[in-house]
């Protein structure tokens, strides 16, 4: 496992947002490897499949509004897997409802990332949060 290639688990149903997250990483020169899934069921299967010596992700990004189910159940599954104990888990959403943020943090999310409505805002905000969570803040821009 190459330390300079970050393994990102992205649970996101919107292809547009997948590209935007990738652009955040690319534009900051971050080498990454993406594990991507679009539904809650798929996400839970993947999250539970990680073993102690396996290829655990360095960061989990979880879209709050997933089709067919509750994103927080994915979060619970991730927290329930000891192999992911050291993986930062962030909920990412365009929701402005304070309740979503509160519920996410109470469910054990390490961060709650808001998706701004414009291109630069997205690249800056989401990019900053990702680098912060990966602990590579110095690499910003």
């Amino acid at each position: 496992m190459n330390a300079s290639t970050w393994h990102i688990l992205l649970i996101e149903d919107n292809r547009g947002d997948v590209w935007l997250v990738e652009e955040c990483l690319r534009s900051r020169g971050i080498k990454y490897r993406l594990t991507h899934c679009e539904t809650v069921d798929c996400a839970i299967r993947i999250v539970e499949s990680f073993g102690a010596n396996g290829d655990v992700p360095d960061l989990m990004l979880l879209d709050y509004n997933l089709p067919r189910g509750d994103a927080l159940s994915v979060l619970a599954a991730a927290i329930g897997n000891p192999a992911l104990a050291r993986t930062p888990k962030a909920v990412i959403t365009s929701s402005v409802a304070p309740k979503d943020r509160q519920d996410s943090l109470e469910a054990g999310a390490d961060a709650f990332i808001y998706k701004p409505g414009d291109l630069d805002g997205f690249l800056n905000e989401v990019g900053d949060q990702i680098t912060g969570l990966l602990g590579i803040g110095f690499q910003t821009k």
């Binding site: 919107n14 547009g16 947002d17 509004n65 365009s94 929701s95 409505g117 414009d118 291109l119």
Partner: protein, 520 residues
């Protein structure tokens, strides 16, 4: 002739107010005058007759308290006259006092036989004559009084019977035990008995659960009708029916009597049952309707919420990727292609603004009662003005306010209200420098606030329209989502008030809203 004498006597000493008539009969004028003189002090009406015939004639026309009759008269003597007087109905019981000069037993027997009450012997002793006659005057008066009273009593009884018979209800008068003393014809008709059958039987045959009214109601003459009770009543045929019963006791010579009025309540009971059934049905329907409305309201609410939030996501994508393309494609696209892309982006922005306004509207309409507190409206206005300071400075307008009250309210909604209304004034200002005046005056149960401007004004047919969601009067020359005033309306209604506008096209608008002093 006799009447002349009558008139003469009347001109003598004034008669007593309740004077009675006394008939004095003597063929000797001087005797008559003497009698008259003796009896005048009694101040009664003295009628004089000079013969038995005349006396008889007078007896036909008048009632006399007493007749003083001379025994010895020519043609018809006193006894003959007395005999005839006695045969007349009117004078059958009139006391007759014979006046005679002789004390003869034969005369006395004959006289008493004819109904004489006394004999007076000549020469008459004035005091004795006076006092004897006075006794008869008194007697006559008492009798008259008695007769009048009896008549009045009979009339009352008659009235009572008439009332009883005319009553729309069956009326039964019983003693305390319930034994029937009297019943009206309605009672016969209602229960199917002949009246004679009812008298003497117990009222419980008609109303099994009849009870003597409580003593407390005995002296109740406060004008309030006796309370009604509904009891079952039984007809002669054995069929029973519901009846409204009122009982009222009264004291009489025969002891305590009780009047029981009975009204057939069958129709009323049926009507009540119908009303009850209708009410139950109505309540059921209202409940169903309310449930339907609640369901559809909830569905609408969820829809509005979902629309405002879920549409946000694709809108964000459209905007973000529009921008991304315009950035990467810059220089590669033709000018008109760039314009088309710009059009996509502009409309995306507008959609975003609308969704944001809609979310705000939903938030205001659904904001709970949690945040009620005493709000200084002046402070709320200053808050709103500080949020608008940039726009106000930009247009060079002036906003002035009178001192505003403190009320029980929700501060965030008040700030929103002032901000939207003043924002509206700024947006729809005319060519003149903008002036906005905010004031408040005491109104029913609260305050009437006014935000008045000198802007372009509103045509009268749109004064209600503008408070609707997404309702706009102007095209793109005035930016706006068409939801600002809908938010104002939702906020005011949330605060328990009402909002409306007065306006004249070209002269400005005055938005008024009434808010209660206290939370409802």
């Amino acid at each position: 002739m006799s009447t002349q004498v009558l008139r003469q006597t009347r001109s003598q000493p004034a008669m007593a107010q309740d004077a009675v008539r006394l008939l004095l009969v003597d063929d000797d004028e001087s005797n008559l005058l003497a009698l008259q003189a003796v009896l005048e002090p009694l101040r009664q009406e003295l009628v004089l007759a000079r013969s038995g015939i005349e006396a008889l004639r007078l007896c036909l026309d008048h009632d006399f308290a007493a007749i003083l009759l001379d025994v010895r008269m020519p043609e018809m003597d006193g006894f003959e006259a007395a005999e005839l007087i006695r045969t007349r109905m009117r004078s059958r019981h009139t006391p007759i006092l014979f006046l005679t000069g002789y004390r003869s037993d034969e005369q006395l027997f004959r006289g008493y036989d004819l109904g004489a009450v006394d004999f007076l012997f000549k020469p008459l002793v004035p005091e004795i004559l006076q006092s004897k006659v006075a006794v008869f005057v008194e007697l006559f008066r008492s009798e008259q009084l008695l007769r009048r009273r009896t008549k009045a009593l009979a009339r009352t009884e008659q009235k009572f019977r008439a009332v009883l018979e005319a009553a729309p209800d069956a009326m039964v008068i019983t003693d305390e035990e319930g034994d029937i003393r009297l019943a009206n014809s309605r009672a016969d008709w209602l229960f199917g008995y002949a009246r004679e059958e009812l008298i003497g039987v117990n009222i419980r045959m008609l109303i099994p659960h009849w009870t003597t009214p409580e003593n407390g109601s005995m002296d109740r003459f406060d004008g309030a009708p006796a309370p009604e009770t509904r009891l079952s009543a039984v007809k002669r045929s054995g069929s029973s029916f519901p009846a409204e019963i009122t009982t009222s006791p009264f004291e009489s010579d025969e002891g305590l009597l009780i009047t029981t009025a009975i009204r057939d309540a069958t129709e009323q009971v049926e009507a009540e049952e119908r009303i009850r059934r209708i009410n139950v049905e109505l309540e059921k329907r209202v409940a169903e309707r309310t449930a339907d409305l609640t369901r559809s309201n909830e569905a609408l609410r969820q829809f509005a919420w979902a629309a405002s939030h879920d549409l946000q996501e694709p809108t964000r994508m459209v905007l973000t990727y529009g921008e991304w393309i315009s950035r990467t494609a810059s220089g590669k696209l033709e000018t008109h292609e760039m314009e088309m892309l710009r059009c996509v982006q502009d409309n995306g922005l507008r959609l975003q603004a609308l969704l944001s306004a809609l979310r705000q509207y939903i938030y205001i309409s659904e904001s709970g009662d949690a945040a009620w507190s005493t709000v200084d409206c002046g402070a709320a206005l200053r808050n709103a003005l500080s949020n608008l300071s940039g726009k106000i400075a930009e247009c060079g307008g002036t906003v002035s306010a009178e001192s505003l009250p403190s009320i029980e309210s929700v501060e965030i909604l008040l700030v929103q209200l002032f901000q939207n209304l003043i924002g509206n004034s700024i947006k729809y200002r005319s060519d003149k420098p903008l002036e906005v005046r905010i004031s408040a005056e005491q109104a029913d149960h609260g305050w009437r606030f006014t935000v008045a401007d000198n802007g372009i004004g509103i045509e009268p047919q749109y004064l209600d329209y503008i408070f609707g969601v997404f309702k706009r009067l102007h095209g793109p020359q005035y930016s706006g989502t068409g939801i600002g005033l809908a938010i104002c309306k939702a906020a005011v209604e949330r605060l328990g008030g009402t909002i409306w506008v007065e306006s004249k096209l070209g002269e400005g608008s005055a938005f008024h809203f009434d808010l209660p002093q206290r939370a409802r």
